[in-house]
């Protein structure tokens, strides 16, 4: 596709850039003018900057955008360091307790040295522990500079605590938010998922006392299950990119990885969300390096009419709106997507997850 012929970026071009980031070198300054806000809306600027740096093409880009790239680099580096530090502190705090501390999502990718950690901004650190231990672990944390995020007016906090059974904790000095989980999905979710099964396959991180991550297949499955489920669809593309990067990493280590994912997804009873995630990945973000995502779960997909509806909704809700475009359809599709048949896309009741930053900038005005 010739990207230089137009002045602003449309959805197809945007997706093409996510499939082939090296194409950014062909963009004019005017196209960057429309691309940067689209990347901000989807929170994918750090991802693209990491891809630019990996391919070492930063010098070929307009000087005018250099500040934005540099700012993003500083921010992602800082985030990674902070999360590494929190992991280090957790490890030393729980080193004498013979109980696995399982990192989820971003913190896990970072700690295990996996590709989705590149170009990542962290909103919090997610930790999974066994249900019987969660109270004791929370108590230990509370005794060491962590405090409950306790804001009676904050509806989101209320839902997270009581519906998702997440214990959000905040560090008193560093303002990092740590989400302590004992399950993966809210108790009321239509999809039943027994988190204790995940502990069968956890893997310890070398050089730590108690820090673990999920097994490779479980990690991919967890990412798939979370697509559409965090109540914030603006992260849809970001989540798909994570799944893409994980598949790439794990397939390189294990040629039969797809089969393992299939077997494990069936065993955990989550074939359908995984099949859906792979389908969206194939449709929107399949790049040369990925070849095809696993297709062995396709039987679990919903029928073609439902799929077409989902495609329509996903495009509307997860892709950035172009500048000056009428925002109404997007809001409508969020509304629809949130109300779509619960077995496919179940929205959690939380109105909007505006999560906390790793550190709080506290402007005095």
């Amino acid at each position: 596709m010739d990207l230089s012929a137009v002045n602003s970026i449309d959805h197809e071009q945007f997706l093409e850039l996510l499939r082939r980031p090296s194409a950014v070198t062909a963009l004019s300054l005017k196209q960057w003018d429309s691309l940067l806000p689209m990347l901000s809306q989807t929170r994918l600027l750090p991802h693209i900057v990491a891809a630019i740096d990996q391919e070492n093409i930063g010098h070929d880009l307009p000087a005018r955008i250099a500040d934005h790239l540099e700012s993003t680099r500083v921010r992602t580096r800082r985030h990674a360091k902070l999360v590494e530090w929190e992991i280090d502190r957790l490890d030393s705090l729980f080193c004498n307790r013979d109980e696995p501390i399982v990192l989820l999502k971003g913190a896990a990718y970072l700690c295990a040295g996996l590709s989705p950690a590149l170009g990542r901004v962290y909103s919090d650190v997610d930790v999974l522990v066994r249900k019987p231990c969660i109270d004791e672990i929370e108590r230990d944390l509370l005794a060491h500079d962590w405090s409950e995020v306790d804001d009676p007016d904050n509806q989101e906090q209320f839902f997270r605590r009581w519906l998702h059974e997440i214990r959000p904790l905040k560090h008193r000095r560093r303002a990092t938010v740590l989400d302590l989980h004992h399950n993966i999905l809210p108790a009321i979710d239509s999809l039943q998922f027994d988190a204790s099964l995940l502990f069968e396959r956890i893997e310890k991180i070398e050089g730590t006392h108690c820090i673990h991550v999920l097994g490779p297949a479980d990690m991919v499955i967890h990412a798939c299950v979370h697509l559409f489920r965090n109540g914030d669809f603006s992260r849809g593309l970001r989540d798909l990119l994570d799944i893409r990067a994980l598949l790439r990493d794990f397939r390189a280590l294990d040629p039969r990885f797809d089969e393992e994912v299939q077997a494990r997804a069936e065993c955990l009873g989550v074939s359908r969300p995984c099949a859906l995630a792979f389908r969206f990945l194939d449709k929107y973000l399949r790049d040369e390096a990925l070849s095809a995502p696993p297709s062995n779960l396709e039987y679990a997909l919903p029928n073609s009419i439902e799929l077409a509806t989902l495609d329509f909704l996903f495009r509307k809700a997860s892709l950035p709106r172009s500048l000056g475009a009428n925002p109404v359809p997007r809001q409508v599709s969020h509304w629809l997507l949130e109300r779509y048949p619960p077995h496919l896309v179940r929205k959690t009741i939380v109105p909007k997850l505006e999560r906390f930053g790793i550190y709080t900038l506290r402007p005095k005005h």
């Binding site: 004019s28 003018d33 809306q41 500040d67 700012s71 500083v74 800082r78 925002p327 005095k364």
Partner: protein
């Protein structure tokens, strides 16, 4: 000024939306708005600025009226940074105050590679003085008074330090004055150009003083910090200046004024420590603005390092 008339942003919009580019220092904002109040205010206080259309803008803002569907008489409006924050809902007559806050917010929500202090900064003879103070400490009032008395304004709210060489980048944006300060500055300098007053904002009444033309023209001249002055306005108090130990000055700036200190990590520490080390740090108590202006013009001040 050249501005591009665009299609209405939404079908129910009555006022056509206008788009314009505003350049302050090396930053360009693209603003789309259907609020005539905002366009008038911008052409008043930003008269000396480059408002020509640009291919690329660092930040995209939309300032628009809310829900004409529901209430055609509503004057409520909101400012949104595309891909970023959304302001609280405000009355269209307060748009200038919210607009200026939004411009600030763009800078500190997007730029993590320069140290940004919530402080005023002015330069004279190559020496920059950084004015730090809490809300109500008289920082903006003093900044305005000095800008009207021969000092070059770099910025009223955002002091931007390079993490490479510690130099200051100016923006020369309008100075936000609050409540009694508005009339005080107007009486001090009857010819000063002001934007519309935004009444009853969360910070009281706010009006913006247009920056001196010379400061706008020289905005690309950088400067190095030579003193940090913690401003303490206290009614009835005689002017007094006392030195502040550097470690304390550092902690005060890092904790209360440095907006992205934590985000910068080691570079933030080094940049701020270098700036504090090469500067003198004082606390200035004052009650009468004339005394403060006279003090900064006096030999007592200029003879300090």
């Amino acid at each position: 000024m050249s501005s591009v008339v665009k299609q209405p942003a939404a079908a129910h919009s009555v006022q056509p939306s206008k788009s314009l580019c505003l350049r302050t220092g090396d930053l360009v904002y693209r603003i789309e708005t259907d609020l005539p109040e905002l366009l008038t205010a911008i052409t008043t206080v930003y008269r000396d600025f480059d408002l020509t259309t640009k291919d690329f803008a660092d930040f995209h803002l939309s300032a628009s009226r809310l829900s004409r569907w529901k209430n055609p008489f509503s004057r409520d409006a909101v400012i949104e940074m595309i891909g970023g924050f959304r302001s609280p809902v405000f009355s269209a007559s307060q748009v200038m105050a919210h607009f200026e806050w939004s411009l600030n917010r763009c800078v500190f929500s997007c730029f993590f590679h320069r140290l940004i202090l919530h402080a005023g900064v002015l330069e004279r003879g190559g020496r920059a003085v950084i004015l730090v103070g809490e809300s109500g400490a008289g920082k903006s009032t003093l900044t305005a008074a000095l800008a009207l008395n021969g000092w070059r304004l770099l910025s009223d709210e955002l002091t931007i330090l390079s993490t490479h060489d510690g130099s200051l980048t100016g923006l020369a944006r309008p100075i936000a004055l609050k409540n009694d300060s508005i009339d005080l500055i107007k009486s001090l300098s009857p010819h000063a150009r002001f934007g519309p007053t935004s009444f009853d904002t969360p910070k009281g009444d706010v009006a913006h003083l247009a920056p001196p033309t010379d400061s706008v023209r020289r905005v690309h001249e950088s400067a190095t910090p030579s003193s940090f002055v913690f401003v303490d306005f206290e009614p009835g108090r005689e002017l007094e200046i006392e030195p502040v130990p550097r470690t304390r000055a550092f902690m005060m700036v890092a904790e209360d004024a440095a907006i992205n200190y934590a985000a910068l990590g080691a570079a933030g520490f080094t940049t701020l420590a270098n700036a504090i080390e090469s500067a003198d740090c004082y606390i200035l108590h004052y009650s009468r603005l004339q005394d403060a202006i006279a003090f900064f013009a006096s030999d007592e001040w200029t003879s300090r390092r």
